[in-house]
Structure formats: C-alpha cells, structure tokens
Amino acid sequence: MLLIRCPYCEEERPELEFRNAGEAHIARSSDMAATSDDDFEKFFFIRSNPKGIIYERWRHMHGCARFFNAVRDTVSDRFLMTYKAGEPKPAKLPGASK
C-alpha cells in the first residue's frame, strides 16, 4: 500500500484514504460545444500513460476530501512530491531518477 502525503493536511497517510483521479494538468475546454472531435478525443480519451514520471491527481477522500496533484515514478511507485491543486506543474523535481 502506498503512503501518500496530502499537501493540505501536511501528513503522510495510507492509500486507503485516497482515490486516484487520473492524469493531472489536462485542461477542460471552456467552450465544450465548440470543441472539435479531435480535440475532444485528446482531452477525454488519450492519456500519456508514461513508464517513468507521471503527474497525477489524487483526492484525500477520507480526510480533507480535497483534490491535489502528485509526481510519482510508475516503475518504482515512489512519490517524488505532492502539491496543491491549481499550482503549476513543477519545473524541477526533487531526486528525479530520469
């Protein structure tokens, strides 16, 4: 089971308290009706599914119930960092392997 640090509660808590909410930093179009089929497919279905560093959303379901973002290595499942929703994608990662 993963140990995940919630940036709002500022605590490391077991995975059972959290729900994974998929890839982070996928912006929803402000005008969905005007979105082309190609763009909708990219937004809704296409995922980067990286072998390595992933930026993903988690929700602290059984804690503060808030969404936040995390950076994790999908090969080792090690978390590099977590940060609050709305904050920009971190340019520099602490101790990144690649």
Partner: protein, 417 residues
C-alpha cells in the same frame, strides 16, 4: 517438428528420453523480415502462427524483451468465457471460444482446455438484472448462458455458501457451460512451437527501443537492443507496454496501464469443480489441474509498471473468497504476483490498423485478454496480412474514440473493472 503422440512417449521411454527436440529454435535475428510482431505472449505468438498457417507468411520475427510467455500470459487466472453483452464483443470472444475447442489437436500440443463451466454470482437485485440481461443478450447471439437459482448454483458448485445470512448472499448465478480454463503456458509454448516449425523466428531478450519510419511516415523497422531490424509491417502486441511502443512511433493511445494481481494456494486434492466469478466483490476462483486454487483480484487504482500491487487488494479478495467458500478459510496461500494490464476507456480491446502505414496494434485487452488468445491472433493475422481488418475485429478500431462508436463493456460489464 516431430509430432507428439502416445507412440512418441513410448519410443522415448525406451531410450531414456534422449530424442526430444527443442520445441522452438532461437535463431539470430535477420536484417529484415516481412512482418515483425512486438511481444511474444500468447496473442503475439498466435498472430505469428496464423500468419504462417492461414496466410502463408512465414518470414516473420516475434521480438520479446524478456522470455516467451513471461508477461501477462504467465500471470493470468486462465479463465475462458464468451458471455459478453454487446454483439461486437460476443463476436470476437466467441470466435476465440470456438478456436479453443480443438486447439490442442490443431497445435499437436495439450493446452488442457477444460470447459468446466464459468459461473457468475449475483449478490443483489442490480446484479440479478444485469446478469439476466446478459443471459438474454448472449442467447440472441447464439452463446450458451443460463440462469441458475441459488440452489442450482450450489448443486453445480457444492463449496458455495448460499445461506441467507451470508455476508455476500447468493441470489442467483449465470452459467456458461462452454466456459472454463486452459493451461496458460502451454498456449504460448504450443503456438511458439507451431510457428517456429513453419519458419517464424522467435527472438527472446530483444527489447524494442524505437520504431523507425520513412519520410512518408510508413514503418521501416524497429530499433532493438540487438540492433536495427527492418520490416514493412510491424504488429504491436505488447499488453501493458503497448502505449510505450506506440509512443515510439508517435501515436498516442487511449490506454492506461494498471497492476492486476492474482495468487495461488498450496495444491490440494480436487475440491472445486468449476470457475466462479463474483464481480461485485472482485473475486475469481478455480482450481488448476495441479491442485492449486487460482484466485484473481481486482486492479490497483493507479497507473503502474511495477508488476506488483497493494496487499490490501489481495486481502479484500481473500476476505470475499472466505465468506463465499468457508471451507477455504484455513487454506494457505503459496504465492502472489502482479501483471500490468492495458485498459481502454470502454474496456474493449483495440485490434486495428493505425494512422501509421504498416503499423498495426492489438492491445487494450485490460483485465481479460487470455480467453481471447486464439481468436485475437487469428483476426489480427488477417488484419496484418490483408492490410484490412477481419469483419470480426472491424469494430475494434482506434478511431472509435473520436467517432464515439464505443463498444462500452465498461458501463454494461459482466465484469466490474
């Protein structure tokens, strides 16, 4: 290829078993092939086998980064069934089921296909409605599936706890009698032997690191850890790593890869006559011919390539197994493992041409690809050989995620994913 038979066993018994030959050869890769298949699991080897036998294309290489059948082919719970809801799914899974029947004879290799029946349990009113809908849909598609009362389910599978005060009460079940299990390794080995005998090169420990494309976009071959290998046609059958390979060709996929875990118990005498699946509580169980209980769990909730998963997932499944089959509460578990499954948004596979000329993909089988192995290989070989999909896999395009013509087994699933 020497034929396996009772006479071969008798002959070898007389001379100390010194005459058995290698089941498949391990040649050095050539500079160029007509077709390269990336991934030597069941689906990839079946594709190569049918390219050789049905389409006469034998200048084929199957590249495998690890060892043959060492990925999800060796990590699944070997359940075979075809009771899917939609016509498209029924078409492809039942095509596979028909090929399972007689596969041992076709391959001259005992894949131990055992149609012992697959039972799916209903624990609440919603389950009853969904499963009955499946029974009706299956029958309209000519697929056997029947509804059992709790008493009939108990008669078919005596270890089942159907008492009314059970934690997961059994309110009924469906039964597909043609469903069952097969020996997963033997499927990969049998296809490998058959393909190799017809001239297909199976190259293990050869990881694909890049896909080379011509200026016009068409595929020219693949870069590997053993050098460049050319081919005009490349079929990607890489399960959890399919999106990684497709990214090398510049194609982004609607796929996410999750760990899926399974475990086996210590071997015991025959106690469990069929396959039982409970989708509501995520527990799948059967007994292998070796005597181990084979138990499947659900996926972890996050994307991972680690081939391990959280212990709490297994614990949840074992809790459910012990509730439904109290006789197993003191059974010792022997080992557990995880495989990486590639899941599409609609939980149906992608078997199709891609936007890149000469590049074909067979992926997205998610948590249930083993059952489809023969059918998948058969229609994918057709797709590669003719550069045009077989009618059975024609609906399973990549483009369906743009057009919206989904095959939405996720929303209507017989299996909770």
């Amino acid at each position: 290829m020497k034929k396996y038979s009772v006479f071969a066993i008798a002959r070898e018994a007389m001379r100390g078993h010194k005459g058995w030959e290698e089941q498949w050869s391990s040649p050095e890769p050539k500079k160029e092939y007509d077709v390269i298949i990336v991934g030597a699991g069941g689906h990839g080897l079946a594709t190569a086998y049918y390219l050789a036998t049905v389409h006469g294309i034998t200048n084929v290489a199957v590249l495998e980064k690890g060892w043959l059948g060492g990925g999800n082919t060796g990590r699944n719970t070997t359940i075979i069934r075809s009771n899917y809801l939609y016509d498209e799914s029924a078409g492809i899974y039942d095509h596979a089921l028909k090929l399972w029947d007689g596969l041992s004879q076709e391959l001259n290799y005992n894949v131990m296909y055992s149609p012992r029946g697959v039972m799916m349990l209903a624990h609440n009113v919603h389950d009853i409605q969904v499963l009955k809908r499946h029974v009706h849909a299956n029958r309209l598609n000519g697929i056997d599936n029947e509804w059992l009362t709790p008493e009939a389910a108990k008669e078919f599978c005596p270890p089942l706890n159907i008492s009314r005060d059970a934690r997961y009460p059994v309110m009924g079940a469906t039964l597909q009698r043609r469903g069952g299990t097969a020996r997963h390794d033997a499927v990969a080995w049998g296809y490998a032997r058959g393909a190799s005998a017809r001239g297909v090169h199976i190259i293990q420990n050869c990881e694909v690191t890049g896909v080379k494309r011509a200026p016009n976009g068409a595929v020219m071959g693949v870069e590997t850890t053993r050098g460049f290998i050319g081919a005009r046609k490349v079929g990607v059958v890489a399960a959890g790593h399919s999106s990684v390979i497709m990214n090398m060709a510049g194609v982004r996929m609607p796929l996410e890869s999750y760990p899926l875990q399974a475990l086996v118990s210590e071997p015991v005498k025959p106690v469990f006559p069929c396959v039982v699946m409970s989708n509501t509580v995520h527990a799948y169980i059967s007994q292998s011919d070796k005597g181990e209980l084979v138990i499947g769990a659900g996926t972890d909730q996050y994307i991972s390539y680690s081939q391990t998963g959280g212990l709490h997932i297994l614990q949840h499944t074992l809790d459910a197994i012990c509730e439904m089959f109290p006789m197993f509460t003191r059974m010792k578990m022997l080992r557990s493992w995880g495989g990486i499954v590639d899941v599409t948004p609609d939980r149906s596979p992608i078997l199709a041409k891609t936007p890149v000329p000469g590049l074909y993909v067979n992926c997205g089988w998610g948590t249930g690809g083993f059952k489809a192995t023969p059918g998948s290989g058969h229609v994918f070989a057709h797709t590669i050989a003719r550069d045009d999909p077989h009618p059975i896999n024609a609906p399973f395009t990549i483009e369906r995620f743009r057009t919206g013509r989904l095959i939405d087994e996720a929303a209507a699933a017989a299996v909770a994913h």
